[in-house]
């Protein structure tokens, strides 16, 4: 970069020694040994979520953009937040880093609130519509698998013997799960993923071979196909939790023992396993080696020490402690959301911008480092309250 104005001859010189331009042409970026990079890291809450929910992300979206956007964030990872928000045993909450300061965030409450919002837009991509996939079983596992395949643009039909979708969910007591919520949740996810529901299909076990011919891939939830006979199912069962599983035309999903029989509290597990299965199948169809068998493409976990627990942390909401109402008000939810520290997840708080002595960090929707000027001092990385920024060895 060259300075805009230069002094080349006596005639250019001002009488008084007054400057004529800024110092921005000066490439102080050549000074540094370490370069800051910003990348979100997996917080402990998400690490323990069987569905891999992007928890700080959706809470941030709720705070900055509202419940519709928060729901969109959730539904990229979890098709049934209204169900997890009511049934799940929330393994995320005991891991919340905030718990060492005052109390864990009541993540499930926030998720439930967000799930109550109405949303009708689809975010499916259409490019792979020619590939047809059948999913046998409209329980949470099958629905989740179908949902993620649908989001990837495949033409997915969900086939079930029952008249209603839901599988084992249909047997959950009304006190635990209001049927209206179940219906709304399933309708919504079906609409968003563009799924085809073929319900009331009796004698599935017998007709499976015939049905298979109409599809490129068939996915089977063995718990949902009634009167399943061993010989109609693929003897090689498919374990989505293993990175070495091989996808064939017929994928019979194996569930770990602890998830059988269906337990409502484990709903996030079924969703997670369905998602993983969908990932494997998508990679197989697209002929991509599975880049990640995980539920997220984030690589690192954020260390607890990197999350700042003192300065600037707003006070705990003592009055929410022990609130036992079925539904929280918006005010309560937002107060609780306010307490989330967004561990490992950039919430564009701007602390790095503020603390940079070189004025070399910009925030619009995301973080941008001015590497032409950044001297690599590392203050941004040290001060980031969420451990998002790290200093890396500068590559030549």
């Amino acid at each position: 970069m060259q300075p805009k104005n230069t002094i080349n001859c006596l005639a250019d010189m001002p009488v008084m020694p007054l400057t004529i331009g800024t110092m921005e042409w000066n490439q102080t970026g050549t000074w540094r040994y370490l370069t800051p990079t910003a990348s979100n890291k997996i917080p402990p809450c998400r690490a323990d979520c069987p569905a891999g929910m992007p928890i700080p992300d959706f809470i941030n979206a709720l705070k900055s953009k509202g419940d519709t956007e928060a729901l969109a964030v959730i539904m990229r990872q979890n098709p049934l937040p209204g169900l997890t928000g009511r049934l799940c045993y929330h393994p995320c909450q005991p891991k919340c880093i905030r718990r060492t300061y005052d109390d864990s965030i009541q993540i499930q409450r926030i998720e439930r609130y967000v799930s109550n919002c109405d949303r009708l837009e689809s975010n499916a991509i259409d490019e792979n519509g020619s590939v047809k996939i059948a999913v046998f079983g409209a329980g949470p596992l099958g629905l989740a698998c179908a949902y993620f395949l649908g989001l990837n643009g495949f033409g997915v039909s969900v086939i079930d013997a029952a008249q209603e979708a839901g599988g084992a969910l249909l047997k959950v007591p009304v006190e635990k799960l209001d049927p209206k919520v179940r219906v709304k949740e399933i309708d919504r996810m079906v609409s968003i993923a563009g799924l085809n529901l073929n319900l009331g299909q009796t004698d599935l076990a017998g007709r499976m071979t015939t049905i298979e011919n109409d599809y490129d891939i068939v996915v089977v939830d063995p718990t949902s196909v009634e009167h399943a006979e061993q010989k109609t199912l693929n003897p090689d069962n498919f374990d989505p939790l293993s990175s070495t599983s091989v996808v064939t035309k017929k994928v019979v999903i194996t569930l770990p023992g602890k998830l059988l029989p269906f337990k409502p509290a484990m709903i996030a597990h079924y969703i997670g396993i369905g998602h993983l299965a969908a990932n494997h199948i998508s990679d197989f169809i697209k002929k991509d080696p599975a880049l990640s068998c995980g539920l997220t493409d984030l690589k690192e976990h954020v260390a607890k020490e990197r999350v700042k627990l003192d300065d600037g942390v707003s006070a705990g909401s003592g009055l929410l402690k022990g609130s036992r109402e079925k539904e929280w008000s918006e005010e309560q939810v937002m107060m609780e959301a306010e307490r989330c520290l967004s561990c490992g997840t950039c919430n564009v708080c701007g602390q790095c911008v503020q603390y940079c002595p070189e004025a070399s960090i910009q925030i619009h929707d995301s973080l941008k480092f001015d590497l032409f000027h950044c001297k690599g001092c590392g203050i941004c990385a040290y001060e980031c309250p969420r451990g998002v920024i790290t200093m890396e060895d500068d590559k030549p």
Partner: protein, 298 residues
Amino acid sequence: MNLNSVHMENDLLKPGHFGCPGCGAALAMKYTLDVLGENTIVVMPAGCWSTLIGIYPYSCLSVPVISVAFETTAATAAGIKAGLEAQGKSETTVLAWAGDGGTFDIGFQALSGAAERNDDILYICYDNEAYMNTGIQRSSATPSGCWTTTSPVSALKPQKKKNIMGIMAAHGVPYAASASISDPQDLKAKVKKAMSIKGTRFIHLLASCPTGWRHAPELTIEVARQAIKSRIFPLYEIEDGEKWLLNAMPEKESIESYLNAQGRFKNMTPDMMAAFQENVDADWNKLVNKCQGALNAR
């Protein structure tokens, strides 16, 4: 509002300056100008800032700045204010911006003169506790037991840091405050408050220095934070030289984490450290006694 959300008002400090990586003084100016805005004229003497600002004919600041002889900051600022007022431009803030050398030592007379006259200037001393620009020499703002090139290991500085806030209080200036780069919200609130007052306003601003204090550059903010937590640099305000207000302070920590983070203190003997702690405690108690009533939360 997001947790910890901050917002910068302007970009009057632009990148490309010569400050060391992690420079606390650069941050100090950035925060100050963020509040003062464009209608500001800065007077700065010889010091880190007059060098890091850039090489002629270029400058990293987008407000008018005049680089003046070392002793003259407050006097030049007084002249600038008079010149502006004589021309009917009384809204422009005149910011006298000097380091500890240019304030506690060589610039002291001019500061005292301006304060006595109650000249309408905002004087901010960015204190990195030594003559850093010339390569880390001791000033009267250097703490006791501290290494500098003119108070070397064989002759560490015995004297305590000069009590500049007490001196400004004795002048009866309308507003004096201590602040730190580790708490920009507090600093900005104080600058804002100073802007609403006429007369000589003084802010003593702790600006850590990785190069001179011998700490890692990423710890610039953290070290300044520790100075506050250990009560070595308490945050308080003095109105009209009489009303002392202690700002809300974080939980107290011992001086050790502060001293141990910095190479400049590593030659302190245990006796010196004990004496240091005693002084910190004694000064803190004196301060608390002077401060009226409850803590003044911003």
